[in-house]
Every structure is written in structure tokens, then in C-alpha cells.
């Protein structure tokens, strides 16, 4: 056998046989990492599971040839990854989009990459790790600086024409600018974050957050053409929504393509997750907003996805709690509790009657989706939920049709959440309830409903409701105290013929504003439920005040603001604001009126093209109940001090005005002094010296030519 040089061997036939087709399309190959490591015997079972997972987005015909799972020869087990060949590149793309970084089971998260992507990184020349340049650290401005105001004033953002200004509001005195008017501050609207740390503005390229004493830009979110925004209650998350679908690029990856709603982290400005519109969104109509409701501690958020699914997401990993949405056939609406109740993030929803099932009201623990309370109801048309601000009570306002199905009657069901098994109290009404409002941090509430002047037994049965004789009524309810024990809710005061379409409690409680809207404007009535003087029952109060009920209602004032449509309490409950804005489609001069909490007008100001007047919200008070009680005891001593401060302020205001008058006149005098000098140089008598006004008569000084001589000079 003679030696043959390797170079002489003709390998062409082999090369041809094993040649790699350069044109081979690697786009349809996907590497799936993070799979469980299994022995050879279980490979086929695992393949089946995975094939089932992917079958929802891509058709897999030939399971055997689709998956290739390399083995470790030493352990004869798989290496925990697989090559998957899809029918075409689109299927591969869809599979990555749908299942990348998704849980296969509780322990395994799939990591999907295109083969071409892996190849790209293998081909890269750079092998050394280069530390990316960190952007220079910029300290954030003091986000809560406005709370340190010595006078304890509140701020408000005013948006008019093209300009935005932030003002310090203090009683009737002229507002002091905290941010001087800025032209083109925003392209669409401005919003405060829920705790007041940020002022949000929009631009065609995205939204901006402003913060600190000088409202510098602290964060940018490049979501184009945003029309709607929402914050989580703790301000850590920002939700933006734009009508145009997102394209990859900038902060968005291919995963975000085609979506409209984005959740951002306000701290890092990263995109956390994006969503398309739910299928319930009306075509061409605005989407339901806010898109998500948030739990009190912002750890969970939820939305109704289609009519039969409630999706609860955890904000920790931005994924569905328990990987699945809740099946809630025909779900009406849902509300999160405003505070953590017994360490749980509760939410309540209702579903109507469906397939021989009764209508249900369910209270759910968001962390486990466990239904902690379930109540069946009959003949229900609508349910609305009202949480008491401390989460002690939950009221559901239930609407039912009368027997002849012509009218609606309402009832209230109140759940006591602090007691075991949530005992329920039911209050039935003979007619419709329009609005309901809990007093903040209290067990009292107020309802606005239709009633007959004298409730007759027929009306109670729901028959023969004569619509014309119905009257609006306002009722106050309080929890009865029997020997210091809680009793039941009792109606304490009823005021008939009080049209009020909205009931708004002062954020601090005790004071209530009832607002009725009409074409001409707003009518506002101010109420005090802890009136300190004795109240003789008013003529239209149908019930005498009960002695064992801790309430004393008094109508303080009745006010009107024509052409106004917007109203709000300031976050400290000291002022009530009504204003007219261009939001109703009309242009021109708008005005706002600032009332105090008892309905005295403090200030009225006109604004051209006023769009919004937004109070800066305050974060929840860090004081404990005991500290609050101690502080309110001290008020009486402090009143004197505050009064003096007010007097000094008023004097200061008028001093300022006098100084302004003096300065204006002085500057004019200085200018005229200069002008007179120049006029005299030209031989002109200044106008001030031409006339004298005495007793309504004008005396004119005339230049009289005494003598005129002419000299002829040769």
C-alpha cells in the first residue's frame, strides 16, 4: 500500500455531499433554551408538551422532524435546549413573540432566539468585554419640595391658551407663580401624578415628567402621539396610550409591535410591558380609560379583557397572576380596594345572571385570585361599588327593574369588611339612586335619589309610580351607636327637592358639596355634617335628627357659577373650585371661582381660553391616627397664631399694592421729567404745564405773543 498524500485525495464527492447550502434560510430555525433536562426516554413526552404549547401560534405537522434535542453523551440526558424548525420564518417569528421568556411550568422559563441571531453573535469580532459608558449621575430635584411651604399653601396648574403656569393658591390673595407662564409647555394636556410629585406634559414625540421646585424635565417616555395617560397610585408606573400602533425601534422591540398601551417605569423610564387594545374597544371609539385599575399598593393591576375574562397582572414581573386570567362570564365592572385590607389587595366584581346561574358579587384576593366572598343576587340590572376610604366598608349600589320593567329601583348592600365573614346590611329604596358617596375616613354616607313626596305603600311595592310627582332627595346616613357598640345604618336627615347630580366630600371629610349641572352652569350647595351649633330641623328635612346618631347636618350655603362645568376640592379640603373651560367646545373668556369650604367666594378671575385648572395632589399623610388627634386638639391654640399670620398677610398684600401704585407713578414721573426737559429744549410747553383743572373747569395757559419785532439786516 503506497502512501497517498492527503492533498491528492479527491474529496469533491464528499464536499458536494456535505456542502452547506449558503442560501439555507436559517430564519425558520429557533433555539429554545431553558427547557427541563430529561433522560432519553422522556424526550418524546417533552416534545409533545412543547409542540402543544407552540401549536397555538404555529402549525406543527411533523413533530418528529421539528424538534432536535441534543444529548449530553456522559449523562445521556438532554442539555436543556432544543432546535425547532418551523414551517416558515413567520411562524418562527410568531412563536418567539408569543413565548419568549414565558413560563413553561413553574420552574422553567423558555428562552427563544432565532438561529440567525445566535449566528450573528458568534460571528461578531469583538470578543473583549467593554464596559459601557455610564451616563453621568444626575441627582433628581426634591420631588416633594412644595410640601415644605411654610404657609402650607396648595399649588394648582393652570392651562390656558398655549400656556401653562403653576400657582400658589392662598385664600383670596393674588396667586403667586410657582412656575411662571411657559408658552408651548405641552402639546395636548397636563396632568399631575396621583401624589403630586410629577407634572406630566405631552409633546408629539412622547410624554415628559417635570418635577422639583423649578419643574425641570426629569424623565422622557418616547411614545409618539400619546392621547391618554394614567399613573399607578404609588407613581412607580406610568401607563400611556396612543391610537397609532407601535413600531419597533427606540425603546420598543419587536415584541411591542402593533401594541397601543405601554406600561413604563417612572424611575428607570424603561418599557415594562405593552398591550394591544382589548377586543372590547369600540371601533373608532376611544378605549376604556384607565386601561388598568391598580391595587392600593400598586402591586397588582387588572383589566377586563373581552366580556368574559378578568386579567389580573402582578407588577413585579408584569405577568398574569397564576398565568391565567379569571373566567368571569359577562363581568360588569370591578373595583380595587383603595387601601390594603387585612394585608390583602382585595378587588370586587360582579357578574350578571347567566345560564341559570345567579348574578354574583365576588370579593377576590388579587395575589391568589381566591374568591374570599361570594354573594348571589336576583333580578339585578346593574351594580356599582363604593369602597370606604379606609377599606372598612364596601357598598354595592344595586339597580333592579320594577315588575313592569319600566322603572329602576335601587338598593344598597353594605359589607363590613373588618368583621368575620363580611356581614351584610341591606337598605332598600323605593326609587332610583343617582349618586352615593362615603365621607372620607368615616362611616357616614350620603345618597341622592328620587322619591315620592310621601312614600305610599303602593310605591313601595313598585307599582303605580307616578313619575311626575317624583322629587329629588338628599339623605344622610350614619351608623347608630348603641352603648358604644355599632348598630345599623340609619337615615338621619332627608332633604327633599334638592337636585344634585354629583356628591363630592371634602378630602378631609365633614364638609360636602352637592353639585347640580344644567345648561346655564353649576349650582353648588355646601353642607356641614358636624355643625357645631344646634340645628332646628329644617322645614324640608323629613326626619328629626336622632340623638344617638353622631351627625348634625346643616346647609351652609347655596351658590351658582354660570357657564361653569368643572369643579373640584383642593387636596387639603380648604377650597372648592368651580370653573368654565374650553373643554365644552366653546372659546373665549373663561373664569374660575374659588370658594372656601363653607361656600364663601374668595376670588374670581378671568382667563382667556382656560383649558384646565388642576390642583396638585398631596401624598397621604404620614401621621398616625394618634398624631392626627393630637394635632387637631392643638388647633384651638394655633387659631390665634394663624389669624395673626392672615392679618399680616393681608396688610402685606395691601402694602404690596401701595408700593406697586407708588412705583408705577414714580416711573411715569421720572419719564416725564426727562421728557419735559427735552420738550423745553425744543421750546415746547409740556402738556402738564398747559392746563390746570380746578373745580371742574379747565384753565388754559396760552402763549401770547407780546411783541414781535422785525429787524432787517443787510
Amino acid at each position: 500500500m503506497s502512501a497517498v498524500s492527503v492533498n491528492d485525495i479527491d474529496f469533491r464527492d464528499l464536499e458536494e455531499r456535505y456542502a452547506v447550502d449558503e442560501s439555507l434560510n436559517t430564519d425558520e430555525y429557533v433555539i429554545c433554551d431553558g427547557l427541563p433536562i430529561v433522560p432519553a426516554s422522556k424526550i418524546s413526552k417533552l416534545v409533545k408538551v412543547i409542540a402543544k404549547v407552540f401549536s397555538s401560534v404555529a402549525a406543527i405537522d411533523d413533530v418528529e422532524n421539528t424538534f432536535e434535542m441534543p444529548m449530553d453523551p456522559e449523562t445521556s440526558k438532554t442539555l436543556g435546549f432544543a432546535f425547532i424548525r418551523f414551517r416558515n420564518a413567520t411562524d418562527a417569528q410568531n412563536a418567539i413573540k408569543a413565548f419568549n421568556r414565558k413560563k413553561l411550568d413553574s420552574k422553567h422559563v423558555m428562552q427563544l432566539d432565532k438561529l440567525s441571531t445566535v449566528k450573528k453573535y458568534l460571528d461578531t469580532k469583538e470578543t473583549e468585554y467593554k464596559e459601557p459608558a455610564l451616563p453621568e449621575f444626575k441627582p433628581l430635584p426634591h420631588l416633594k419640595s412644595w410640601l415644605t411651604d411654610e404657609l402650607g399653601r396648595d399649588q394648582a396648574a393652570v392651562h390656558y391658551e398655549q400656556e401653562v403656569t403653576v400657582q400658589w393658591i392662598r385664600k383670596g390673595s393674588a396667586p403667586q407663580p410657582a412656575l411662571a407662564p411657559v408658552t408651548n409647555f405641552t402639546s395636548g394636556f397636563v396632568r399631575w401624578s396621583p401624589q403630586g410629585s410629577y407634572l406630566l406634559s405631552t409633546s408629539p414625540r412622547g410624554v415628559l415628567l417635570h418635577a422639583g421646585p423649578d419643574f425641570a424635565v426629569v424623565a422622557r417616555f418616547p411614545h409618539k402621539d400619546v392621547k391618554l395617560v394614567d399613573f399607578s397610585p404609588d407613581e412607580r408606573f406610568l401607563v400611556t396610550c396612543a391610537p397609532a400602533e407601535i413600531r419597533a425601534g427606540g425603546p420598543f422591540t419587536e415584541q411591542n409591535e402593533g401594541h397601543n398601551i405601554v406600561i413604563w417605569s417612572t424611575e428607570t423610564t424603561n418599557v415594562l410591558r405593552s398591550f394591544p387594545f382589548p377586543p372590547t374597544k369600540p371601533v373608532n371609539g376611544p378605549p376604556q380609560w384607565p386601561a388598568f385599575k391598580w391595587s392600593a399598593d400598586s402591586s397588582y393591576f387588572a383589566r377586563v379583557f373581552s366580556k368574559d375574562e378578568l386579567c389580573i397582572y402582578s407588577s413585579k414581573d408584569m405577568s398574569l397572576v397564576g398565568k391565567k386570567s379569571m373566567q368571569t362570564p359577562g363581568i360588569g365592572n370591578f373595583e380595587f380596594a383603595p387601601v390594603t385590607v387585612g394585608g390583602k389587595q382585595l378587588l370586587v366584581f360582579w357578574t350578571p345572571e347567566f345560564n341559570n346561574q345567579t348574578a354574583r358579587v365576588c370579593i377576590v384576593d388579587a395575589s391568589t385570585k381566591e374568591i374570599v366572598h361570594n354573594r348571589s343576587l336576583f333580578n339585578v340590572e346593574s351594580v356599582k361599588f363604593f369602597w370606604q376610604s379606609e377599606g372598612k366598608y364596601l357598598c354595592s349600589l344595586i339597580g333592579r327593574l320594577t315588575k313592569n320593567k319600566k322603572a329602576m329601583i335601587s338598593s344598597l348592600e353594605i359589607y363590613r369588611l373588618e368583621e368575620k365573614n363580611f356581614p351584610i346590611e341591606v337598605l332598600d329604596f323605593t326609587d332610583r339612586i343617582f349618586d352615593f358617596a362615603w365621607e372620607p375616613r368615616s362611616d357616614r354616607f350620603v345618597v341622592n335619589f328620587y322619591t315620592l313626596p310621601v312614600p305610599s305603600p303602593e310605591a313601595r311595592n313598585g307599582a303605580e309610580l307616578s313619575l311626575s310627582s317624583r322629587k329629588y332627595a338628599l339623605s344622610f346616613y350614619a351608623l347608630e351607636r348603641v352603648k358604644k357598640l355599632q348598630g345599623t345604618w340609619k337615615e338621619t336627615n332627608r332633604f327633599v327637592d334638592r337636585p344634585a347630580s354629583r356628591l363630592v366630600w371634602s378630602p378631609r371629610g365633614r364638609f360636602l358639596a352637592t353639585v347640580s349641572m344644567s345648561n346655564v352652569g353649576l349650582q353648588v350647595e355646601f353642607w356641614d355634617v358636624d355643625y357645631e351649633a344646634a340645628v332646628t330641623p329644617a322645614a324640608n328635612s323629613a326626619l328629626p335628627a336622632a340623638e344617638d346618631l353622631p351627625i348634625n347636618v346643616f346647609l351652609l350655603a347655596s351658590r351658582e357659577h354660570s357657564s361653569a362645568r368643572e369643579f373640584s376640592w383642593d387636596p387639603s379640603g380648604r377650597y372648592f373650585l368651580t370653573y368654565s373651560s374650553t373643554r365644552d367646545g366653546t372659546q373665549g373668556t373663561k373664569s374660575y371661582i374659588l370658594w372656601d369650604h363653607v361656600g364663601r367666594q374668595l376670588r374670581q378671575e378671568k382667563f382667556n381660553g382656560l383649558m384646565a385648572f388642576l390642583w396638585r395632589p398631596r401624598p397621604p399623610s404620614p401621621l398616625t391616627k394618634e398624631q392626627r388627634r393630637a394635632a387637631s386638639k392643638k388647633v384651638k391654640q394655633l387659631v390665634e397664631q394663624f389669624d395673626m399670620q392672615d392679618a399680616a398677610m393681608a396688610a402685606n398684600d395691601s402694602d404690596d399694592l401701595l408700593r406697586f401704585i407708588e412705583a408705577t407713578m414714580e416711573s411715569w414721573r421720572l419719564y416725564r421729567k426727562d421728557a419735559k426737559q427735552k420738550l423745553r429744549e425744543c421750546g415746547i410747553v409740556p402738556e402738564e404745564e398747559r392746563y390746570e383743572v380746578r373745580d371742574g373747569t379747565v384753565y388754559v395757559r396760552r402763549d401770547v405773543v407780546v411783541e414781535e419785532t422785525e429787524e432787517v439786516v443787510d
Binding site: 395691601s654 399694592l657 401701595l658 401704585i661 407713578m665 411715569w668 419719564y671 398747559r690 392746563y691 379747565v698
Partner: protein
Amino acid sequence: MIPIVVKGHERPINQLKYNTDGDLLFSISHDRRVCIWFSDTGELFGTTDKHGGAVNCIDIDRKSTFFITCSTDFAIQFWNLKTGELLEYEHENKEGEVVRGPMRIKYSAIPRFLQIHPDENKLLLVQDTKMNQPSAIVIYDIDMHDLENPVLKQNKVIYPKGSPYVKAVWTYDGKRIIAAHQDGSVSRTCVETGECELSAKVHNDNIVDLQMSQDRSYFITASRDETAVLLPVDGDFQTMKKKFQGDTGLNSAAISPIKDIIIAGGGKKSIEVTTSSGGKFEAHFFNKLFQADLGRVGGHFGPINSIAIHPYGTSYASGSEDGTIRIHHFDKSYFEFDYNEVIKEGVEDTE
């Protein structure tokens, strides 16, 4: 304050002007007529109508011997105030012969505005851009001491740097011109060099009126952007700027010589009146120093086109699109009113 309402014109009033002594009030109108009224009583002194088009502007000499008008018929006419006839002067006709004829100077462009120099030896004329003519201020030397032999000679033409001129007025020293431009800017031009010293945009819309204070040391402009602006002649057009916010487009504004009061008037354009409610055809009173809104005087049925205050400040007249003139003699309470005292009292009340 009961106004004297006089009607002598069939068409909109263009300008009202008092003579130096204030005994006569001149009104000119689109109806080609000049009316002269006794300002005290509103009685008619006389009318003339020798123009072939709407009369655009009028000025009267200090001794009230003659007056000059310009009109859309391309002519400037010199009148004897006593007779109401045109003056005659010697000039060269088309054939080059020296002839004596009526003092009617035909012009290549529409003369829009004119004003006699404070020394009465010059005449300033603003020509319109209509008929493809350039906007310009033309200055004439005049000698009218002998009404039998008046002399007129063109001295200088000044063209605007930017936007066309609307109106132009002499300053107190007679060496400079303040001009208002169509784009809302005002400029100060030196007559001798013809150079623009300073220009500043003070309005967002067309300036319609420009009036000097009586001693010609500061002026006021009225604009369609609903504001009137007061500025000193000297200075940078920034310091001592006072802005008066009306509630409708302004056509005219005047300065009272005896009180710190500005009267401005205007109204919605005739074409807009039918489409919106309320024409706001009111004279609007402002405090000159504090720019405060003091009150309004209504009565006209059309936009106010011109406001003139009596040289002694005892009355004012407003002329309207509806052709009427309303002469208002101020009451005693007007002279006793002191805004400064009022606001100071207001401050004391609150304390």
C-alpha cells in the same frame, strides 16, 4: 353725560379732528364730504365736497386759516377755511406753462394720510400701496403764510424697510417721524437722513390708528389685535410701554391732555357682525398709568372709526361706521374723578 348726536354724512366717518383752539370739529367721510362743526353746540359751520372719492385724511393749520385733505381720488386739496373754497397757486401745467389754478395736486398713488409739521413749513404724506405703488412717506416743503401765493415743493421720499406704512406723525422736535406699519410694528425715522432709527413689533395685527399726545412726546397706537399701546417717542420702544386690552378689534385711540385717561374705540368688522352677537361699538376708557379698565360709553350702531379728544380735554367726539358723530362734553364728576385716590381708598378699605 348726554351726547350731542350729529348727522352730516351718508357714509362711514373716516376721521374726526379738532382745530388747535378746539372750537371747530372737522369730520371727513367716505361720502366725499368734509363737514365742519361748532364743537360746543354741534351746529354745522359748513360743508364742502369737491373731492371725487372718499376723503382719507385732514389736517388744519394752527391759526385755523386753511386745511388740507387727501382723498381716494388721488388728490390732495388745500382749502381756505373761511370761504370753503380751494386755494389757488401758480404752477406749471402739462404744457410747461406757468398757470394759476386751484390747489389740487393730483398724485400717482392714493394719499392715505397727511400731517402738517409742527413748524408749519413741511407736510408729511403717506401713500398707499394700492394700484401697484410702493408704500412711502413723501415730505413737501410748504409756505402758506400768504394764502394768495402758497408754495409747495417736494422735498424727500422715504420708503419703509419692512411692512408698508399705515400712518406717520411728526415728533415734538419736528426732526423725526413715528410710523405705524401694517404688520403691527412701529418705527422711528430721522427725516434728514431718511434712515430708520428703531423699529419694534408691538401688535399682532394691523395697526389702524396712531395719535400723538398733545406735546408730541408720546403716542398711542390702536390695532385690530384688540389692544392699544402707549409708547414714548424717545427711548427703545420697550420702557414705559403701556398696553390697554380692549374686548374687540380697535380702530382708534386718543390721549387726554389733562387727565391720565385713554379713550379707545372700535368694534367687530361689519362682515362679522351678522355672524356673532354684540358688536361692542363702545368707547372704552382706560387709566393711562395703570392700564386699568375704567368704563365704556356706548350709543353707536356701527364700529367706531375715529375718536378725537378736545385739545383742552373737556370733551371728546366719536365717529362711526354708521355715519353719525357723537360729541360728549364731560361732566363735573369726570374732572373730579381721581383713579389713584380710588385704588388707594380701596386698599385702605380692605385693611
